[in-house]
């Protein structure tokens, strides 16, 4: 029986266009991916990670990966996965839910912000819309705290330097630079991108959530002193979670050669 000789690696067949025909997808991301990742969000919702004073309960570890959903699935599918995971988490893990509807809204926003961090001009309208929110949230929050409730400007600024930096990262071209880092083949750059990206997206998300919470709860001015100490620690933890979990997941996804969602950044 003669063996077939090996030939040079130039395929002789015509190259075909590869299309995913499965109809079950959200903005180009297979629904199966969204389901799996929303389950991860739910699972991490069980784990309390810090005492968040503003919301009156602990914050869930899932907050660190809301933005990751946006990079893995794109902004729209990421928002769905993050939001659905948070909704289920609110019911199954109420000890980390805080204000439930706000938790779900924040999860959605975190993924949208991350999904808008892409190189080039893709999703620029989404970026502009979120930028408006990112600017208005601290303005309304500050107005309410300083003008209405007498919190000093210095104390307000001291409470949220992390979030102001996060908003700046989102408004400036650094937003697209972070997207390039997350898409880099070098995992160290990916990790840096995920840390800064989570810092930025979660910062915008948290500032918006805090502003809304403040309108609802009007906590006393003394609490801002505690925020100044607690918020940087919490936000660093959030960003660390995003970087550690995200780098592992992205490295694994790249290695496993699964089909990449259309709007994914990794």
């Amino acid at each position: 029986m003669p063996d077939r000789p090996l030939t040079a690696a130039i395929p002789s067949g015509p190259e075909r266009t590869v299309i995913f025909f499965g109809s079950a997808s959200i903005a180009g991301a297979p629904v199966a991916y969204a389901i799996v990742l929303s389950a991860v969000v739910t699972a991490l919702s069980f784990i309390p990670f810090s005492v968040v004073l503003s919301a009156g309960s602990s914050f869930p570890m899932a907050q660190g990966i809301y933005p990751l959903m946006g990079w893995l699935l794109g902004p729209w599918a990421g928002a769905v996965a993050s939001g659905v995971g948070a909704i289920v988490g609110v019911f199954l893990a109420p000890h980390t839910a805080g204000i439930p509807w706000l938790t779900v809204a924040g999860a959605t926003m975190g993924a949208l912000c991350a999904g808008a961090m892409v190189p080039g001009r893709r999703f620029w309208k989404l970026g502009v819309g979120l930028s408006v929110v990112a600017v208005l949230a601290p303005l309304f929050y500050g107005d309410r705290a300083i003008d209405r409730n007498g919190v000093s400007l210095r104390l307000f600024l001291l409470a949220y330097p992390t979030h102001f930096f996060a908003i700046a990262l989102f408004l400036l071209p650094t937003r697209r630079w972070i997207g390039r880092l997350v898409g880099s083949p070098d995992l160290k750059r990916v990790a840096i991108g995920l840390f800064l990206g989570t810092w930025s997206a979660a910062g915008v998300m948290m500032m918006t959530e805090s502003a809304i919470s403040y309108f609802l709860l009007n906590w006393p001015g003394e609490l801002f002193i505690m925020f100044a100490a607690a918020v940087p620690v919490e936000h660093t933890m959030r960003s660390g979670i995003g970087a550690v979990v995200g780098t592992g997941v992205i490295a694994g996804l790249r290695a496993m050669s699964l089909v990449k969602p259309r709007d994914a950044v990794y």
Partner: protein, 572 residues
């Protein structure tokens, strides 16, 4: 003559980001009603070809695709996977990955519901499929409560219920005991005969493939390098050696006999029945029983179970009065059908479960007094499914992870990692992501991660699953080297044909009891005991028993020697 069921024309495929093709210029036609065997070394492209047959490659994985795959005239790139899935059912190597529902009957119905088959028809097909794989008694059970063999049969039933024209079985018996494996192959034959279903079967089970398939295709680095009937492929010694493939034991035995001038070259059976029928052409065989090598008995056993029973919370009695002593320097093979109690036994050695009654001792002291982390430094456990243990981003990080709590000097840490990588031929992959490797390579990563701890006792649970012949031999040779260094080795495997030459002692388990604990030669030839837990012995043992009632050969070399004129003192 009707058109082929499946036609692959110049199919080449690159996974996303890959520079090397997983398939290259594959031309293949599969006629209706054929049972096609697909063989090749680990990483040859067998699974990729299977996935290309129902569009998962490239539709799900992406990447670059060249040529065309047509199934019943449907181009795999122009039709959605669900349309192709109605024609091509796939059973994966690890059935755990494809069982998604909460009961056996729901699992079978799941695909049918998705294909919008009417409810009345679903009920009929579920009953038929359950009967075909003999799982009627388990219809209400949770799939994950079934043994590996039954899970494999369930996955098979789920594919069967769709009544596809083609069923693809990707290494369907690699995790099954010989009894369950024989059942699966018997089922393939039966379904092929009664329903006319076409099959593509991949795997390393040469004896079973030679028995069942009509044609064999050999893949190498994504290319078809040979194809033909089993009698042609399995007798091409050069091809098999090049591709690290193993022929059936009877074929290699007769090749050895021919090389020693004891039978003509033309006598090259690939099936046991044909080999036994060829005995009249051979000189008369003699009895053969070399004295067994004594077991190591060095003082207090390093591990011991004394009259251990274990009953799970659902009432399942997994162990019933098991007593075993493992001495330093032992090399023990543990065999038994799925559900015999082997895994529960291993869990007791690792302090992962507490005996319901009886004692588990390490160096004569109760094992329960040791923490799991302390035990991990003394007892290394290589689990059956490597994927459940891998979580680092590089092979090097995975292998070195367990050293972190030991706070070793950097140079010692480096030495251990390098040695483990080298021992498992993984040095070239140290920076790769473990999941970028084939399953066989991932199994070696897990072994390296255990080896790096330099434990006294090493327990391997099905270490050769999914390995080609070279990979399996490399792992077993490693166990032999570790044994020679004084380590105690325990291997649990269904691949009995691989173990002669390695294990000295074998323990046969059945229904939670130790049925026999004896030298491996005695165990392999004590057929009445083996039959309690396996339906048949290895091909070589069957050959030896058929040749002479006093012939206790275990390897082709021993068997061939028993036909030669008397020259050795070991010949009885």
């Amino acid at each position: 003559m009707s058109a082929p069921l499946v036609v692959l024309e110049k199919v080449s495929y690159f996974y996303p980001g890959a520079a090397v093709p997983a398939l290259f210029d594959v031309d293949l036609a599969i006629p209706r009603g054929e049972i096609l065997g697909l063989i090749g070394a680990t990483g040859a492209g067998k699974t990729t070809l299977c996935l290309a047959l129902n569009g998962i490659v490239p539709q799900f994985h992406g990447g670059r695709f060249f040529g065309a795959v047509c199934i019943e005239g449907l181009d795999s790139l122009e039709h959605p996977i669900h349309a192709l899935a109605a024609r091509v059912g796939i059973v994966f190597q690890d059935p755990d990955t494809q069982l998604v529902t909460a009961s056996v009957e729901n699992e079978i119905a799941f695909a049918l519901e998705n294909l919008r088959v009417p409810a009345a028809e679903i009920r009929v097909r579920v009953a038929e499929a359950l009967a075909a794989v003999h799982l009627e008694a388990f219809s209400k059970k949770h799939p994950h409560d079934l043994s590996g063999g039954k899970q494999q049969r369930l996955a098979f039933a789920a594919a069967l219920a769709m009544r596809p024209a083609l069923i693809v079985l990707d290494e369907p018996t690699s995790q099954l005991d010989p009894k369950s494996a024989a059942e699966v192959f018997a089922l393939v034959r039966e379904i092929n005969r009664t329903h006319g279903t076409t099959f593509v079967v991949t795997g390393h089970a040469a004896a079973e493939l030679a028995d069942v398939v009509n044609r064999i295709v050999v893949l190498s680095r994504g290319r078809i390098v040979a194809e033909g009937p089993p009698a042609s492929v399995y007798t091409d010694a050069g091809l098999l050696a090049r591709e690290h493939l193993r022929p059936p034991e009877v074929t290699s035995t007769f090749a050895l006999l021919a090389a020693r001038g004891l039978c003509p070259d033309t006598l090259a059976p690939v099936r046991l029945e044909d080999a036994i029928a060829a005995f009249p052409s051979l000189p008369p065989a003699r009895a053969f029983y070399p004295p067994p090598v004594p077991f190591a008995v060095n003082g207090v056993p390093i591990l011991a179970l004394h009259d251990v029973t274990h009953t799970y919370s659902d009432g399942t009695a997994a162990l019933r009065g098991v007593s075993i002593d493992l001495h330093r320097g032992d090399y023990v093979l543990i065999v038994g059908q799925n559900g015999a109690g082997k895994s529960t036994l291993l869990k007791h050695f690792l302090n992962l479960v507490i005996p319901t009654t009886g004692k588990v001792l390490i160096d004569g002291a109760p094992l329960a007094t040791q923490s799991v982390s302390e035990l991990a430094r003394r007892i290394g456990y290589v689990p059956q499914n490597p994927d459940r243990q891998i979580f680092n981003a590089t092979v090097e990080a995975e292998v070195g992870f367990s050293l972190t709590p030991l706070h070793l000097p950097v140079s010692e840490r480096r030495r251990r990692i390098d040695a483990a990588l080298k021992a498992l031929n993984l040095s070239d992959f140290r920076h790769a992501h473990p999941f970028a490797l084939s399953k066989g390579d991932r199994a070696r990563v897990v072994i390296a991660a255990v080896l790096v701890m330099e434990p006294e006792v090493l327990i391997f649970d099905e270490p050769t699953t999914g390995q080609d012949d070279a990979g399996a031999r490399a792992i077993l040779d490693l166990t032999q080297r570790l044994h020679a260094q004084g380590r105690t080795i325990v291997v649990v495997t269904h691949h009995l044909h691989l173990m002669p030459g390695y294990a000295r002692r074998a323990v046969v388990m059945g229904a939670g009891r130790v049925l026999l604990d004896a030298p491996i030669r005695d165990v392999y030839h004590t057929l009445p005991v083996l039959e309690q837990t396996f339906p048949r012995p290895t091909q070589l043992v069957s050959l030896a028993r058929a040749a002479h009632p006093g012939n206790f050969s275990l390897t082709p070399g021993e068997f061939a020697a028993s036909f030669e004129p008397l020259s050795g003192s070991t010949l009885a």
